[in-house]
Symmetry: C2
Subunit: 156 residues, 2 copies
């Protein structure tokens, strides 16, 4: 597996404009998920204005990170399930059907955020992902993302 390319950088050009993770969205967050064994990992440094209560990270940003890292994790898992290299044809692009975030403790604003994703289930067009959000070794939020493979008519 090519572990140096982010899953999102393998999305086809016509669906690479996501505000969260699209490489072609210059105003976006540019969230990137990398394969790390059975897991996926993402590192993100929030901007100073991504505040909730002063000193802590905004929950909507946390939800965004979990969302895009979830779809990236789904793509990685689908390539693995298919037994082929990430980036091989046809490309894999999931979209989110539902997102659940539990904010376990306030997430300190400043340090780099780490997200770890794992596929709980990949079956047919559907995938269920578990994502943990960690700052300085502390689990701050936990997410569950249900994704489906993007319908063909999207992005056309």
């Amino acid at each position: 597996m090519n572990e140096t390319v982010a899953m999102q950088d393998l999305y086809p050009e016509n669906v690479a404009h996501c505000y969260g993770c699209g490489r072609l969205n210059e105003d976006g967050l540019q969230i990137k998920s990398y394969v790390d064994g059975e897991e996926t990992v993402c590192h993100f440094r929030p901007r100073s204005y991504h505040t909730a209560i002063p000193g802590y990270v905004y929950g909507g940003l946390i939800a965004s990170l979990i969302d895009c890292h979830g779809t990236g994790t789904a793509a990685a898992a689908a390539y693995r399930t298919d037994g082929r290299e990430p980036g091989s044809e046809p490309p894999v692009r999931f979209v989110t059907a539902s997102l659940k975030v539990d904010f376990l403790r306030p997430t300190p604003l400043g340090p780099i955020i780490e997200l770890r994703g794992r596929a709980r289930e990949v079956r047919g067009r559907k995938a269920i992902l578990d994502v943990e959000l960690i700052v300085e070794g502390q689990l701050c939020a936990r997410g569950e993302v249900v994704c489906v493979r993007m319908p063909e008519e999207f992005g056309k």
Copy 2:
């Protein structure tokens, strides 16, 4: 009730920097929730770069809108449950404990987004809110937000 002031504009100054809804966050989204009878309403026009797949609204923005409209709805409901005017002392500020979003259909990017919030339960320090996200009369997403009153030590 003063229905012309957004719930978020009643948050105390030291906790009004939220990227989603803080009036003191100049880089933020400035989400505003207004009381409308038993419900709360919010209108938001996404920026052109708030894309998911081209033509549709980014799911992380949808989660952010539901999050901040949820906490605003919780504040409105708490004032109502207390039998007092929004803005009366002591101020009410909820924070999100968990957030669930079901993306029912792609949300078209361009038109104004409407959110409608309703309190399912307000008990002690906890509130559960239901939020619907509607574009041009179509229900596009549904959210459930569990909030708790902000601990006193926050924002100090």
